[in-house]
């Protein structure tokens, strides 16, 4: 079998907004995007961490608007294309049209893995606008492969030309990824691309991404220096080096990408992106990675344990977007403690 050619998709200017509390500056975005572009990264995601329209009390107000970020990055890159994330229920088709008008090439419509049917409106419009249209099934560990396939088929039927298995909690092990990607590859149309988005909460980002490629995925998300929610995304420069060793073609320069991670991304971090106790809990208990900083802040404010908050969020079977429940849980814990 010939060695595969895959597309690397960088997340540090979107998922990386979570650990930056959405405060990356336009100048920082331009500098990093230029570096990624020059290293040969073909696709770069840019928006608020929670996607288009994510600016809110609930998720945090960003330093600049999605429009300002997108305009700046699109005006900077020479070869790379820019993608935007959209979560139905948060972002709307107006945001999608705005992104298209600014020159966004790829739209990724993200739903919880059981709720694909809320994406019809957005996926069908993106396809009509002739955008590269991705269906992004989040928290995919919560659904067995057969049920995940049903949801993927819905997104494909609405017009998605690529389907993602998204490990939002960094919970999956390589066998979990293989089972899902293998079935999707068997049953979706041969021309439908497959992607994997990992979080590194159990240090499985690279192993999981390799498993995905081996089972037929051809788009892999990662983030330079891992800058992303929880313990970060799959560190893209490391994954790229592993691909090089395995003769998986990415078209991305190993050392140039390592330079971007080391010289441009790491210096803007507010804290080291690593598997601390809370991130480990995210991966171990299967909790949405973006909850991390909210839990740390609520814990400090109410004098309770951030790990306990995250465990409770997992027990409640919360899904992506339910950041509002973190303060609610912390208040309940503080009350129980006083009683």
């Amino acid at each position: 079998m010939s060695q595969p050619k895959i597309t690397l998709h960088d997340m540090c200017l979107r998922d990386g907004m979570h650990p930056k509390r959405h405060q990356i500056s336009v100048e920082q975005m331009k500098t990093i995007a230029r570096g990624l572009d020059e290293a040969g990264v073909p696709l770069i995601e840019v928006t608020h961490g929670d996607g288009l329209g994510g600016e809110s009390v609930n998720y945090g107000f960003p330093l600049h608007s999605d429009e300002e970020y997108l305009r700046a990055v699109i005006g900077t890159v020479k070869r790379a294309k820019v993608s935007a994330l959209l979560l139905p229920g948060i972002g709307t088709v107006e945001h999608l049209r705005m992104a298209k008008d600014l020159g966004v090439a790829t739209i990724r419509v993200a739903t919880h893995c059981t709720e694909a049917d809320v994406s019809e409106q957005h996926i069908s419009l993106a396809r009509k606008l002739e955008m590269d249209t991705v269906g992004f099934l989040m928290m995919a560990h919560m659904l067995d492969p057969e049920k995940l396939l049903e949801q993927a088929l819905l997104m494909e039927s609405y017009g998605a030309n690529c389907i993602y298995c998204t490990d939002s909690a960094g919970y999956m092990l390589p066998a979990d990824v293989s089972a899902r990607i293998t079935l999707l590859r068997e049953r979706l149309r041969p021309e439908t691309e497959l992607g994997f988005h990992g979080h590194h909460n159990l240090a499985m980002g690279i192993a999981n991404s390799i498993a995905a490629v081996e089972c037929g995925a051809n788009r892999i998300d990662g983030s330079a220096a891992g800058l992303g929610a929880g313990a970060g995304n799959t560190p893209l420069e490391v994954f790229n080096a592993v691909c090089d060793r395995m003769e998986i073609t990415t078209g991305v320069d190993v050392m140039k990408l390592a330079d971007v991670a080391e010289d441009l991304v790491t210096p803007i971090m507010d804290m080291p992106i690593r598997i601390d106790r809370d991130s480990l809990v995210l991966g171990y208990a299967g909790v949405y990675s973006s909850f991390l900083l909210f839990a740390k802040r609520a814990a400090a404010k109410y004098g309770v344990s951030s790990a306990d908050i995250l465990v409770e969020m997992g027990r409640m079977k919360t899904v992506g977007g339910q950041e509002d429940m973190i303060e609610d849980v912390a208040l309940n814990m503080a009350r129980a403690k006083r009683a």
Binding site: V57, G89, T114
Partner: protein, 303 residues
């Protein structure tokens, strides 16, 4: 007690069926027709069981019977898209419409906030915003009646089982219409709405979080009093409406954490999002009923 007003229920999904169960208990409204489009729908079967006349031909199946059955009011629980057409046909027939879709052709009605204002106006079409709007706008109004609110944001989390195909096909209508309702009825310069569907089993009870950013430092004592008073108002028609946490004050942010448990009339109690919509719609109809009975709504076709 006056004479009951005859009503038609359009849309035989979750909302329409729940509304039927509630309307059958009403002392002012008499549900006569249930209108659907799917002959196999559970809602139509339940309506037949309860003695209602039914059609699976949409609103066109109802129109020829309006006069003979003296239908004066209709509840539309279809979809925003379908409502535009239904609204036109019913208006021509002189039927007052309570719109439970996010179409929002008519003015918004959130009973504890502005139902009294609607009573004398004789509007032929009033809109119930959205379930998230019914659950949260009273809280925004409770803060904005104390002091100016620059921005209000709500997060509505509902169980996947309680979100029907209409909501799913056009979820943007939910966010758009709720945000507008927050501004117009809630009383804030800028509103934002977020909806989350959660598939957990057993299903979670509807949760709603309301964040208000006040223009000046929040008057905590008065806001707390106002919020509690408003909760009592909502509880009159949705007994399972409760404050879980807050009002929480953090700078100019006022956050209110709510839970909405339903009566379990059609879907089980977790679907408080259905109850708050249907209970609000029924309360609105009951408020308008005496004036309709008195013949004050004469627009459209002569009766």
């Amino acid at each position: 007690m006056g004479k009951k007003i005859n009503a038609a229920l359009i849309g035989s999904g979750n909302i329409g069926t729940d509304l039927m169960v509630k309307a059958l208990r009403s002392t002012d409204i008499n549900p006569v027709w249930m209108v659907g489009i799917d002959p196999a729908s559970d809602g139509l079967a339940k309506a037949r069981d309860r003695g209602l006349k039914t059609t699976d031909q949409g609103v066109d199946g109802l129109l020829p019977h309006l006069l003979e059955d003296d239908i004066r009011i209709a509840f539309d629980a279809t979809s925003a898209y379908v409502h535009h057409e239904n609204a036109r046909k019913l208006r021509e027939a002189g039927v007052v419409v309570i719109d439970l879709t996010p179409a929002a052709i008519g003015p918004f009605c959130v009973p504890p906030v502005n139902l009294a204002e609607h009573a004398g106006r004789r509007e032929m079409n009033v809109n119930m915003v959205t379930c998230g709007g019914q659950a949260t706008i009273p809280m925004v109004a409770a803060v904005s009646r104390v002091q100016p609110v620059d921005y209000a944001e709500i997060v509505a989390t509902v169980s996947s089982r309680s979100a029907g195909p209409g909501t799913r096909k056009n979820i943007d209508e939910f966010t758009r219409t709720t945000a507008r309702g927050i501004e117009i009825v809630g009383g804030t310069k800028r509103g934002k709405a977020i909806i989350i569907l959660n598939p957990a089993e057993p299903p979670l009870i509807m949760r709603d979080t309301v964040h208000c950013l006040t223009a000046t430092e929040p008057d905590q004592t008065r806001i707390i009093e106002s919020v509690h008073r408003m909760i009592t108002e909502v509880q009159r028609y949705v007994p399972g409406y409760s404050l879980k946490n807050g009002p929480l004050f953090d700078g100019n942010r006022v956050s209110i954490y709510l839970e909405v448990e339903g009566l379990g009339d059609y879907l089980p109690k977790y679907a408080g999002n259905l109850d708050i919509m249907t209970a609000a719609a029924l309360r609105t109809a009951e408020m308008l009923a005496p004036e309709i009975a008195a013949g004050h709504y004469t627009e459209g076709a002569a009766r």
